[in-house]
Symmetry: C2
Subunit: 544 residues, 2 copies
C-alpha cells in the first residue's frame, strides 16, 4: 500500500525558487576575473538563471544535453548551475587545471554542445576550439567591453546572450532521477571518467550538508567557497546555500593567502571550505604579516577535504583563528560527501591533544552513506578502530556507473562501491583512511600501511621526505622498502633509521631495507607518484 | 537522460540502521507509565525494533496492514515506530484523548490488525475491545508482572511477545512511497479522516528537521518531546533523533509542570517541543516554586506549535529560562512541519520588543513546502505582509488525499492543498495566520480578521473574553458582531467598547454591534467553538 502524499520531484530548480521566496536578499559576493568585487542576491541569481534557461532554449539546447564550463567560483558560474540544470540540460564543469589534451578528451567524450568560459581561459579556449567539433559556440563569461581578442569562430558574449531574454521561465517538472550535472574524475591511470549526478542525488546531498551532521550551514553563515565550482559542484555548496540562505563568498581566481584573508575579513566569513594547501598559504600569510586573525576575522569553522590536513594546520586554526577544523571525506563518485568529522557530546571535556587526535580522522558517515570495511576476501571486518580493510560505500548520492559505461560495472553484487581506500572504523563510527589500496603492503596475509610507516619515518630529524612501497618477496609476498630523501646537509644510516622506527611500529612492519635517493617523483600538484616509484624499483630485490 | 547514481529508497529502517552504527550509545530516556525512569540507547532500540519486526512477521502481519497504538511517549512506542514501519506495516497512532466512539470509528475505519496500548488505557481497551472486530490481539506495553487485570479475549504481553524473538532481521527494501504510518485528523466537523504518510515523506521531513531552517537538531541536543507520539509522529522527532543522534527525553503520561521541570533539569534538556498549554503549566510551576530555571536548566530553545503562544509565554522563556522560542506551524496533513520561525541575520540587532513581534509569526516555509495566499476568486495575493488570504501549500510531505478517499479530492487542479487558514506573508517570507477561513468576516468584498478584532477587544480592562463572528448583512454580505464576556464585577457599555476599538482597527472593521453574554462555548480542551456561537446567533440581525 502506498502512502497518500504529494508526488513532488526533488529538483535543483526548487532550491532556487525556495531561495527567491524565502531569503531573496541573502548575498552572493564574487571576486571577478575582471577585478572588482561583485555583489548580488539570490533573487538576482533567480532572475538571471531564468534568462540563462531562456537563452539555452533559444539556442535549441535539448534536455539531457551537456553544457561545458571552464570557470572559477563566481556569480555567473552559479547562474549556470541553476539555469542549465534547471531547464533540464546537464552542467558539465571542467577542471581548467587539467592538461589541454585531457580537457579536449573530456569535452569530446561528454559531447558538450556549448562551452562557457572565464576570461582567464581565453587562450586555452582559442587553442582548444578547433579540436571540439561538438561545441556550437564558446561563450565568454563577461560583458561586451571585456570580450577577449581571440580567434574563435563561434565566440559569444554571456551578458549579450542573456540580457534580452525574459526574466520569466517555468522550470520544467523533470523526473528527479534526470541527470543534472557531470564531473570527470582525473584518474591517475587511464582516461578520465564522467560521474553523472541527478537532481535527486544533488538535493539529498544538499539537505545533508545543511544538517548538524553535515556542515550545519545556515542563514547566519557567510561561507567562503575555496573549493572550486569546477570540482564536484564545490562540494554541493551552491545548492546548500540556496536551500538555507547562507551568504556565499566566491573568490574567483585569487586563491593566494592575502586575497583569501582579505575576503574573510571584509565579508565576515564564518565558514570556509577547501583543501589543505590553500589553508597553509593562508596561515603563512597571516603569520608573515603579523596579523591577528582571532580579532580580525569571525571565522568559526573550516571544512578541509581532498587530503588530510597536517596537525599543525588544524592546531593553527584553533590557536590563532579560534576556528574549529572539520575534516570531510568523499570522492567525485560520492557527490562528494561521505563523512564529516564532528566531536560527539562525550568528547566535550577532551583535552586539545585528544581533540586534535579525533579531528585527524575523516569522521562519521552522513545519514544516507553506508560504509563498511572488508578484508581481501570480501569478509566484513570489525568496527574496532584497529582492523583496517577496503573501504566500501553505498548510498543515494554515490555513482552506480561512469558515463557511457566506461570502466565497466563499478558496484559489487550487493551494490557496494569500492573507494580504493584502506581504512579503519571505530566503535563510534569514526573512519580513518590508513592507505590507498594499491599502496598497502601485503605481507604474509596481513597488511602494512605505507602511510603509517612514512609518517613515522619523516619524524626523524634528518628525513625530508619518505615513501614506502611493497617489494615482491618469495616468502612473504611483499615486504616494505623505505625510500628516503635526506635534508640538505644531514646524514642518517640505514641502521639508524630502522632503529628510529623500531619503537614506533610493530616489529614485523619494519622495512626490510632503506634506499636513499635525491628526489621522489611527484605530480604537477605535488602529490607523490607511488606508481612511478614502484616502476622505478620494479627490479629491486632484497638481499638474501 | 537519467543520472548515474545508485537507486536507494528513502526508508525509515535506514534511519535506525544509521543510528545503530553512527551513534549507538546516544540515549533514549523515558518516564514509564509504571513509574521509574527507563534508559536505553539507539542500539537497544535497534535490537528490540528487530524483535518487534520478527514478532509481527510471526503474527502474520502483511505489508501495508495497519497496527494501532494507544500510547504515551516512551521507548516501547519508539520501538514500534521503527519495528512496525520498518517491516512494511503501517503504524497507526491513535489519540487516546478522543472520545471512545471516535477511537472505535478510527480503529475500525483503519482496519487495525493489532492494537498496542499503555497501561493507562487498560480500562479504555476493555471497553473498546468488543467493538473492534478486526483487531486480532490487544498487546499491553509492559512485562508480565504489570499485566492489567482486564477482561479482553486476546490480551497479550509486549515483553513476552518480543523476548523470544531473534535480534536479527533484514529490513525489506520497500518502495519508498510505501505507507509507513497513519494519523487521523480530529476534524471539528464530520468523521476523523486518515492521513497516510510514506517512508519518503517521513524521511524528507526528518532531514529538514535537522537543518538550520528546521530545528537544527544535533547530537549535542537532549530533546524533550512533550508533543505526543500519538499526534503526527511527535512532529517527526523520533525519526530526526535517529538521524542525528540527539538524546531523546520521553515524558510518558506525566505532563504537569513539576514532572517536566524535573526531567528538563535531570536530563540536561536543551530543546523542548510542545503546545502552549504545557509551557504555561511549566512556567507557573517555576514561578510558584520560586525556581531559577536560568541556573538550573540548560534549555536553549523551545519549539511551540499547535497554536500561537501568548507573548507572555515567549517573553518568560526569554527572561527567566534564557531560552529562545521558535513558533512552528503545520498540520496533520503536513507531516506536520510547514514553517518554523527563525530570525534572519538582519534581525541580529533587533530590540527584545522587535524580536518578540517577529517571534509571534508562524515563520518561513521550510525548503520543500511551497506556500501562497489567494483571494476568494483564487488569484494570488502579494507577499507584502498586509494582504491576507487563503493559505495554500504544496510539497512532498503534504497529503494528496485522505485514507479511503474520504472527503473526496483535496487538491486543486494545480496540486495546492487549502489549509483552511487565512494568513499574510511578508517580503522575507514570514507567514502569519490571521484567522481560520471559516471565521473570517466577508464585508463588501473585503475581509475582516475576527482574531485581530478579538485580540484588540481583550485589551480592554473590563473584558474577560471576546469573540467576533460575521452576521449576514443585506448590503455588505457580512458585518462583524462582537460577543463579550465581562470580568466579574466589571462593567463596560457598547459605546465604550466600540470607542476603545476606534483607534486600534480600521474604521470599516468596527463591529456593528456588541452583545454581552455570561459565557462563550468551548471544546473540552478549552478551544473557542465559533461554529456553536454562530449557531447561537443564527437569527441575530443588526438593527436597521
Amino acid at each position: 500500500m502506498l502512502g497518500l502524499m504529494q508526488h513532488q520531484p526533488l529538483l535543483i530548480s526548487s532550491l532556487l525558487e525556495h531561495a527567491c521566496v524565502s531569503h531573496p536578499d541573502a548575498q552572493i559576493v564574487s571576486r571577478t576575473v575582471e577585478g572588482p568585487i561583485h555583489r548580488c542576491s539570490y533573487a538576482d541569481i533567480g532572475r538571471r538563471a531564468k534568462q540563462v534557461a531562456n537563452a539555452m532554449t533559444t539556442l535549441g539546447v535539448q534536455p539531457g544535453e551537456r553544457i561545458g564550463t571552464l570557470a572559477w567560483n563566481g556569480y555567473r558560474h552559479m547562474e549556470l548551475y541553476f539555469g542549465v540544470s534547471g531547464m533540464g540540460a546537464v552542467l558539465h564543469t571542467i577542471n581548467p587545471r587539467l592538461f589541454p589534451e585531457q580537457i579536449e578528451f573530456i569535452a569530446n567524450h561528454a559531447d558538450d554542445q556549448y562551452l562557457f568560459f572565464d576570461l582567464s581561459f581565453a587562450a586555452l579556449v582559442e587553442e582548444l576550439a578547433p579540436k571540439l567539433p561538438t561545441v556550437k559556440a564558446f561563450i565568454a563569461l563577461c560583458d561586451r567591453a571585456h570580450m577577449p581578442d581571440i580567434k574563435v569562430a563561434n565566440l559569444r558574449c554571456y551578458e549579450e546572450l542573456i540580457v534580452e531574454q525574459p526574466e520569466q521561465f517555468d522550470w520544467p517538472l523533470l523526473d528527479e532521477n534526470s541527470a543534472s550535472s557531470m564531473c570527470y574524475t582525473s584518474g591517475t591511470t587511464g582516461n578520465p571518467k564522467g560521474v553523472l549526478y541527478s537532481h535527486r542525488s544533488s538535493l539529498l546531498h544538499s539537505l545533508m550538508s545543511c544538517t548538524s551532521e553535515g556542515f550545519a550551514l545556515s542563514a547566519a553563515d557567510a561561507a567562503l567557497l575555496v573549493v572550486p565550482m569546477f570540482h564536484v559542484n564545490a562540494w554541493g555548496m551552491p545548492y546548500a546555500g540556496a536551500l538555507c540562505g547562507a551568504k556565499l563568498v566566491l573568490p574567483g581566481p585569487a586563491l593566494d593567502g592575502a586575497s583569501l584573508y582579505q575576503l574573510m575579513r571584509d565579508e565576515r566569513v564564518t565558514l570556509a571550505l577547501g583543501v589543505p594547501t590553500v589553508w597553509m598559504m593562508l596561515q603563512q600569510h597571516a603569520e608573515a604579516g603579523g596579523l591577528n586573525p582571532r580579532d580580525e576575522l569571525c571565522l568559526n569553522r573550516v571544512v578541509i577535504g581532498g587530503a588530510a590536513a597536517p596537525r599543525a594546520v588544524v592546531e593553527c586554526f584553533e590557536r590563532h583563528f579560534d576556528a574549529r577544523v572539520m575534516h570531510a571525506w568523499g570522492m567525485t563518485e560520492m557527490s562528494p560527501l561521505g563523512t564529516v568529522c564532528h566531536p560527539l557530546p562525550k568528547h566535550a571535556n577532551a583535552s586539545l591533544e585528544q581533540r586534535l587526535d579525533l579531528q585527524a580522522k575523516q569522521g562519521r558517515a552522513l545519514f544516507g552513506v553506508s560504509m563498511k570495511i572488508t578484508d581481501g576476501a570480501g569478509n566484513d571486518l570489525p568496527r574496532d578502530g584497529r582492523a583496517f580493510g577496503h573501504l566500501l560505500v553505498k548510498g543515494p548520492w554515490i555513482a552506480s556507473s561512469y558515463f557511457r559505461g566506461e570502466g565497466g560495472p563499478i558496484l559489487d553484487q550487493d551494490g557496494w562501491f569500492d573507494t580504493g581506500d584502506i581504512a579503519t572504523i571505530d566503535p563510534d563510527g569514526y573512519m580513518q583512511i590508513t592507505d590507498r589500496a594499491k599502496d598497502v603492503i601485503k605481507s604474509g596475509g596481513e597488511w602494512i600501511s605505507s602511510i603509517d610507516l612514512e609518517n613515522a619515518a619523516v619524524g626523524h630529524p634528518a628525513v625530508a621526505e619518505a615513501a614506502v612501497i611493497g617489494i615482491a618477496h618469495p616468502k612473504w609476498q611483499e615486504r616494505p622498502l623505505l625510500v628516503v630523501v635526506l635534508k640538505a646537509g644531514q646524514a642518517a644510516s640505514r641502521e639508524e633509521l630502522l632503529g628510529f622506527l623500531g619503537d614506533k611500529v610493530a616489529r614485523w612492519w619494519l622495512p626490510d631495507d632503506v634506499v636513499f635517493v635525491d628526489e621522489l617523483p611527484h605530480t604537477a600538484t605535488g602529490k607523490l607518484q607511488k606508481l612511478k616509484l614502484r616502476e622505478q624499483f620494479r627490479d629491486y630485490r632484497f638481499a638474501e
